[in-house]
């Protein structure tokens, strides 16, 4: 493998990692605060993608540049409507109950959304590439890349990372979320409305999943079943990083993206195995993930 191919692999890896990060970080955030593994996360990703494509196809005839706001609108709409519904009506009655019930109710939401997606958008692949076509291609060693994939996507991922850091560390709302994460009882005692924090966090996390889907929609065909694959990949990334670790998720996504790209160049047969093998190895050595802190077990 020479430098040319290595450079290409790095570019491929980064653009893949950017999308994976956006989806995984939402999952990780939700777990960090609510202690819930949201199995419906992949469905939110799929819904975000489908709604974004529908909106882009609707606005593209007016002006192709309107498709960018359409992607954002779609992500927020799905985050608020679907995410809000799941938290308010499915998860909220279960706080304080068995963890497995919370996980399973999101599994039920996954099944329902998977089915609804087919009923709403049908089974024919949908494709809406306007946003990607607006940006020019760039050439690296004579190989063409779309700047949407190698510049815009990594940029959005980076902004998300920095934005989330700023939000959690520098704003009052972020401080409240962190406080609830640290110690729910104590923060409730000092007057924080934990329910509201849970709701807001879930909506934000869900919006990231939908944003990941929306940003992926110009590059890929939207098909039934796309959510089921994404959830388990983003879960592998979040778990390998350590659930609730924002920066760790970014680094892990990058690691998995790069490894995957190099594997496709060298030994493509093992591509599917990479994230899961990495996850097993890391969890065996560090069950709380690469960047996760060891938790004190309460007696």
């Amino acid at each position: 493998m020479n430098t040319t191919l290595a450079t290409l692999a790095v570019l491929d890896g980064i653009s893949y990692a950017a999308l994976v990060f956006l989806v995984s970080v939402g999952l990780s955030l939700i777990f960090g605060v609510l202690r819930v593994v949201n199995v419906a996360h992949g469905s939110l990703y799929a819904f975000g993608a489908y709604l974004a494509a529908t909106l882009s196809l609707a606005v593209a005839p007016i002006s192709p540049w309107l498709t960018y706001p359409a992607l954002i609108v779609a992500s927020i709409a799905i985050g608020v409507i679907c995410g809000g519904f799941i938290e308010r009506f499915l998860l909220r009655p279960l706080y304080g109950r068995d963890d497995v019930l919370q996980l399973l109710i999101t599994f039920a939401a996954f099944m329902i959304m998977d089915n609804l997606q087919r009923l709403i958008w049908g089974v024919q692949p949908i494709f809406a590439a306007e946003p990607l076509k607006l940006l020019p291609n760039i050439s690296v060693f004579g190989v063409a890349y779309t700047s949407y994939q190698v510049i815009l996507l990594p940029l959005v991922a980076l902004l998300t990372l920095l934005g989330l850091r700023y939000f959690l560390r520098r704003t009052l709302a972020g401080a409240v979320i962190l406080a609830v994460t640290e110690d729910r009882e104590a923060s409730t005692a000092i007057g924080i409305d934990a329910k509201k924090v849970y709701f807001v966090t879930f909506v934000i996390g869900a919006s990231f999943a939908a944003l990941g889907g929306a940003l992926a929609s110009p590059t890929t065909s939207l098909v039934p079943g796309m959510g089921a694959d994404m959830i388990v990949l983003s879960f592998a990334v979040a778990a390998t990083a350590g659930l609730g670790q924002i920066e760790g998720t970014a680094l892990t996504a990058l690691m998995i993206g790069l490894t995957r790209a190099f594997i496709i160049y060298i030994q493509p047969e093992f591509e599917v195995l990479v994230p899961y093998l990495l996850m097993v190895l890391v969890l065996l050595v560090r069950p709380f993930g690469l960047f996760g802190a060891v938790q004190v077990r309460k007696i």
Binding site: T4, S15, Q124, G142, V143
Partner: protein, 433 residues
Amino acid sequence: MKFLKTALAATAATVLFAGSALAQGKPAEIKVGITTFLSGPASVFGVPAKAAAEMIAEDLNKKGGIGGVPVKLSFVDEGAGGEALVSNYRRMVQDDKVDATFASISSGSCNQLVPVAEDLKVMNFMWDCGAASILETKKYRYNFRTQANGTPEMLAVLLYLLKTKPNFKTIAVVNQDYAWGRESWEIFSTALKAMKPDVQVVAELFPKFGAPDYSTEVSRLLALRPDVVFTTSWGGDLDTLVRQSGQRGLLQQSTFILAIGESSIQRLGKDLPEGLIVGARGDHWFLHPEKKGDAAFKAFNEAFKAKTGAWPIYPVYHMAQAFAALQTAYDKAIKANGGNWPTREQVVDATAGIEFATGFGRPVTLRPEDNQGLEAQLVGVTKTVPGYDFKLLDNMMIFDPKVITNPAGIRSVEWLKTLKPEFVKMDVPTFKQ
């Protein structure tokens, strides 16, 4: 011991029950059970095919049905998973007592259901699945394939390539990682090695079935610069591959072969450039050069377009073939039975070796040795034509199935190995758009 006794009692009960159902009057209806994908990625084939089945049955019943008996359809979703598929298939046959089944789209489903149909002694038409091996490894009585299999389908595409672009040196493959992707490449590459041994295979990529992103594969192919890129992918996977390749100039750099691309042409619209070689899993094309003047063909296509919003694709025509086979078989069986309604076994006897025509393509023959259908193959190259917002096929060749199907009794791969470079020189009619 008690259980064994109950089991024996159960057997006795079933046998008695089956034995009593031999009355010979004209039935109220012919029940046909159809398995097709209504969910999952392959519903891109299954849903149009279901629409076609409903249209065809309605039309057939308006004309008085088969031998004066209307057909009644029931559907089972192949996408519900193997367990649900097998149990629902059994339910259809055992409880609903369907007279014939059409199963299935995926070779995986066929592999599961063909032995079941044989066990349950119900006539089954493999109406769309393509794995050659199913009928090569065993002789069945109740199972027929009313279309070609992967061997002539891939061979036709390869012959087209060798006839139109004989001078390529390197080739790469990007196929979905499942039986069809692997087997179609085995067929294609075996025949390629036999007929043009100097070609170098520079990359064999088998991304996961349903992979959402081929960016890395595209980069690698852009760097490798193969003369030809071969793919048998379909549905959303093919759409993604073609669009991601198109956006980055790979479609222009290499000659692409979309071996079963006919089913994606309309969806891909303007994203599909000119000059790609496209196969159709049979002589299926809504502007079939030998049929496009035919009024019934045009009427069917337009009715289908009005009903579903798209022109028919090959699974639609495969479904039509299954119905044509059913009708031909029943007519023949009724005739052979002196005009009386035939038993199920008589219908099965009549089916072996029939030739039937849908009117939507050339007639198909069911080879009596192995119940394999002999179906012509149409291959063409994409071209922009005013008045259509998607590409049409040009320079179409229609291959004679008797020449490009392996003889009964010889396994496809063994037969393909015996092909010589001269095989390419066969005469094939070419049609302009």
